[in-house]
C-alpha cells in the first residue's frame, strides 16, 4: 500500500532541505575546489554550527532506527546506547581539545596526518587511513539502510527505496561538501526535536501512559540479566571510545575554530543524551503498540511503523522525513571525512605526491562516491542487517583499533616514534644515573645490583626500561649510555628533532 499523502509531505521536505543544501554551497564564500574548503569549511565553524554538526554526527539512523530496533528485539540490552552517550561527552571534553590544538598547530586535516608525524611512519599512517575508511563504510551503510527503511514504510518497494536513498545521498554530498550538512543539520535537528517531542507525548498517551507501556513489555526485556552486565558496559565504553576516532568526528572537531568551541560543545551536547534515551524507548512503545516487523530488515522497520500507527498521516510524513534527513546529513559528513582521508593520506601520499589542490578536491569528491558504493556493499551482505546496529558495532570495533595510535599517543610521550625515542632515552638515562645518586647514601646498592644482574639473562626478553634499570651502575650500563650519547651526537638530525618535538610539545599544552 502506497501512502500518497505521506509521500507528498516527505518529498516536499526533502526538496526543501536539498534547496538549503545547494544554497549552502554558496554560504560563507569559499572556493569549493579546494579541499580545506570543501572538507573542513576552512576551519571556521563556531559553537552553534559545531553543535549541530557534532549533534548531527551522533543522532543518526543509529539513534532512530538501530537502537529502538535492538530494544524492540532484545530489550534492555539495547539501552546500552544511554550509558554510551552519557560517557562520550566527558571523553570528548578531556581529549578532543588537545587533538584539535595539535592539528591546528601542525596543519593536520585527518587523524592519519597526526599519526604520520607523531610516529614518523608512513605505514602506520596508511593503516590508520585504511582503517578509518573501512570502518566508516558500515556506519554509512547503517544510514542508507535507515533511509531505505523509511522509504519502504511509505509503501515503495525496498530495492527502489535503497536506490533512491543512495542517489539522494550521493548527489547531495557531491555538490556541497561539508557546508551543506552543517547548515542542513540545523533544519534537521529542528525537525527531529519536533518529532521526538511529539512522539514522547502522543505515543505514550495513545498507549495509556509510560506505566502502561512498561507494563505491556515482558519483564525479561525491562532489565539486564547478570550474564549481560559485562557486554552492556563494554558495548557502552567501546562505542564511546570509538565515536570520536571516526574520521567524520575528527573532521567535525577540526572544522571548529577553537578549543573553546569544542569544550563548550562537549559541555552542552549531553543535553542530547536524554533525547537519545527517549528515542530508544520507542522500541518498548513499539512492543506495547503491537507493531509487527516487516521483511527484509525486520526489527529495523518498527519505528517508522510506530509513527504511522500513532500519528495522523501528514505528521507521519513529517516524522519520516525527519528520520531520513537525520540519516542523510551524517552519512554525507561521514563520506566526506572518508574522502578526505583517502585523498590526503593515500592518493597524495602514494599515488600522486604533486597533486594540485584543485585535483585533490576532485579526487575527494569521487572518493566520497566510492565510499558510498562500498557502504551499499555492506548492506547487501546477508545477516549483517538483521539488526542494523551490527553495522555500527562492526565499524566501531574496527576504528577502535586506532585508539592507541591516536588518543594514547596524544598523552603518552614515550609511545614510539621519533619524539618517543627522546623520551625513552631520557628515561633510561634517569634510571642509569639512579644508582649513582643513591650509592652515596646506600652502601648496599652495589650488592643489590649484582643480585639483579645475576637474574638478568631471564629478563633479556623483557622491556627496554627493565633491562636498563638492572644494568644501572655497572660498567656495561655506563658503556651503553656512552654509546648512546655518541650515537646521538653522530646523528645530525637529532638536534633538530629535539627542537621540533619541543615545539610540538608546546602545542600540546
Amino acid at each position: 500500500m502506497i501512502h500518497w499523502d505521506e509521500i507528498v509531505i516527505f518529498v516536499a521536505l526533502g526538496l526543501f532541505v536539498t534547496g538549503v543544501g545547494f544554497a549552502a554551497g554558496r554560504w560563507r564564500h569559499g572556493d569549493l575546489d579546494l579541499i580545506e574548503e570543501w572538507g573542513l569549511a576552512g576551519r571556521r565553524f563556531g559553537t552553534i554550527v559545531t553543535w549541530f554538526l557534532l549533534g548531527g554526527d551522533l543522532y543518526t539512523a543509529y539513534t532512530f532506527v538501530a537502537v529502538p530496533a535492538l530494544v524492540f528485539g532484545s530489550g534492555a540490552l539495547g539501552l546500552f546506547a544511554l550509558p554510551y552517550t552519557i560517557i562520550v561527552y566527558p571523553l570528548v571534553f578531556l581529549i578532543m581539545p588537545r587533538l584539535w590544538q595539535v592539528a591546528r598547530n601542525r596543519g593536520y586535516v585527518t587523524a592519519s596526518d597526526f599519526v604520520k608525524d607523531r610516529f614518523d611512519s608512513r605505514t602506520l599512517a596508511l593503516l590508520i587511513a585504511l582503517t578509518g575508511i573501512l570502518a566508516t563504510m558500515p556506519y554509512i551503510a547503517l544510514q542508507i539502510l535507515g533511509i531505505a527503511v523509511v522509504i519502504q514504510a511509505l509503501g515503495i518497494n525496498i530495492e527502489a527505496a535503497l536506490i533512491i536513498a543512495f542517489l539522494v545521498l550521493a548527489v547531495f554530498t557531491y555538490v556541497s561538501g561539508l557546508r551543506a550538512p552543517a547548515l542542513i543539520a540545523i533544519v534537521k535537528d529542528t525537525m527531529i526535536w519536533i518529532t521526538v517531542i511529539a512522539a514522547i507525548v502522543v505515543i505514550p498517551a495513545k498507549l495509556g501512559g509510560f506505566g502502561a507501556v512498561f507494563a505491556a513489555v515482558p519483564v525479561a526485556k525491562l532489565t539486564l540479566p547478570p550474564s549481560l552486565f559485562a557486554g552492556y558496559s563494554t558495548l557502552a565504553l567501546g562505542s564511546a571510545l570509538a565515536l570520536f576516532l571516526y574520521p567524520h568526528a575528527v573532521t567535525g572537531t577540526f572544522a571548529s575554530k577553537s578549543q573553546h568551541v569544542i569544550k563548550r560543545n562537549a559541555a552542552f551536547l549531553p543535553a542530547y543524551s536524554f533525547l537519545l534515551g527517549l528515542i530508544a524507548l520507542l522500541g518498548y512503545m513499539a512492543i506495547a503498540a503491537g507493531i509487527k516487523p516487516v521483511a527484509p530488515y525486520g526489527a529495523n522497520s518498527v519505528v517508522p511503523q510506530l509513527f504511522q500507527f500513532a500519528f495522523p498521516s501528514w505528521f507521519a510524513g513529517f516524522a519520516l522525513a525527519a528520520i531520513a534527513i537525520g540519516a542523510l546529513v551524517p552519512a554525507s559528513i561521514m563520506s566526506i571525512a572518508a574522502a578526505n582521508l583517502f585523498c590526503r593520506n593515500i592518493y597524495r601520499e602514494y599515488i600522486r605526491p604533486d597533486v594540485t589542490p584543485r585535483e585533490e578536491a576532485q579526487v575527494a569528491k569521487i572518493a566520497s562516491l566510492v565510499v558510498k558504493v562500498g557502504a551499499v556493499g555492506f548492506i547487501l551482505i546477508p545477516g549483517l542487517t538483521q539488526y542494523a546496529i551490527t553495522l555500527q558495532l562492526a565499524g566501531g570495533a574496527w576504528i577502535l583499533q586506532t585508539l592507541p595510535a591516536v588518543f594514547l599517543a596524544l598523552y603518552v610521550p614515550w609511545l614510539g616514534g621519533r619524539h618517543g625515542e627522546r623520551h625513552v632515552l631520557a628515561r633510561c638515562q634517569w634510571f642509569q644515573q639512579l644508582p649513582d645518586r643513591l650509592s652515596d647514601r646506600r652502601r648496599g646498592w652495589d650488592e643489590a645490583v649484582h643480585r639483579l644482574r645475576r637474574v638478568r639473562p631471564q629478563h633479556r626478553g623483557g622491556g627496554g626500561l627493565e633491562r636498563d634499570r638492572t644494568d644501572g651502575g655497572g660498567d656495561a650500563g655506563g658503556a651503553r649510555a656512552e654509546r648512546r650519547g655518541l650515537r646521538a651526537a653522530a646523528v645530525p638530525g637529532q638536534q633538530r628533532i629535539g627542537r621540533e618535538s619541543r615545539a610540538s610539545g608546546d602545542g600540546l599544552i
Binding site: 566527558p90 532489565t223 569544550k263 536524554f274 534515551g277
Partner: protein, 65 residues
C-alpha cells in the same frame, strides 16, 4: 588554559555510575511505573550533563572564546 585541571576528575563519576550495571540492573524501585533500570540511567544523563557544564564553567567559563 590548564587552570584548575583537577576539576576534570569530577567527570569520572558518571563513568563509575553507568559502567557498573550491578548498580542499577533491577526493576524496583519503580517511579511512576518506570523500572529502576530505566529511570536511573535517565537520571544520570541529566547529572552527567550538569557535571560537564559545571566543569566547563569552572575551567573555561571566565574566558572569552
Amino acid at each position: 588554559m590548564g587552570r584548575r585541571r583537577w576539576v576534570a576528575l569530577v567527570l569520572v563519576i558518571p563513568f563509575i555510575a553507568v559502567l557498573w550495571p550491578p548498580f542499577y540492573a533491577a526493576l524496583q524501585p519503580e517511579w511512576q511505573g518506570i523500572p529502576y533500570f530505566i529511570w536511573y540511567q535517565f537520571l544520570w544523563a541529566i547529572i552527567s550533563a550538569a557535571l560537564t557544564v559545571a566543569v566547563y564553567r569552572v575551567q573555561d567559563g571566565g574566558e572569552s572564546r
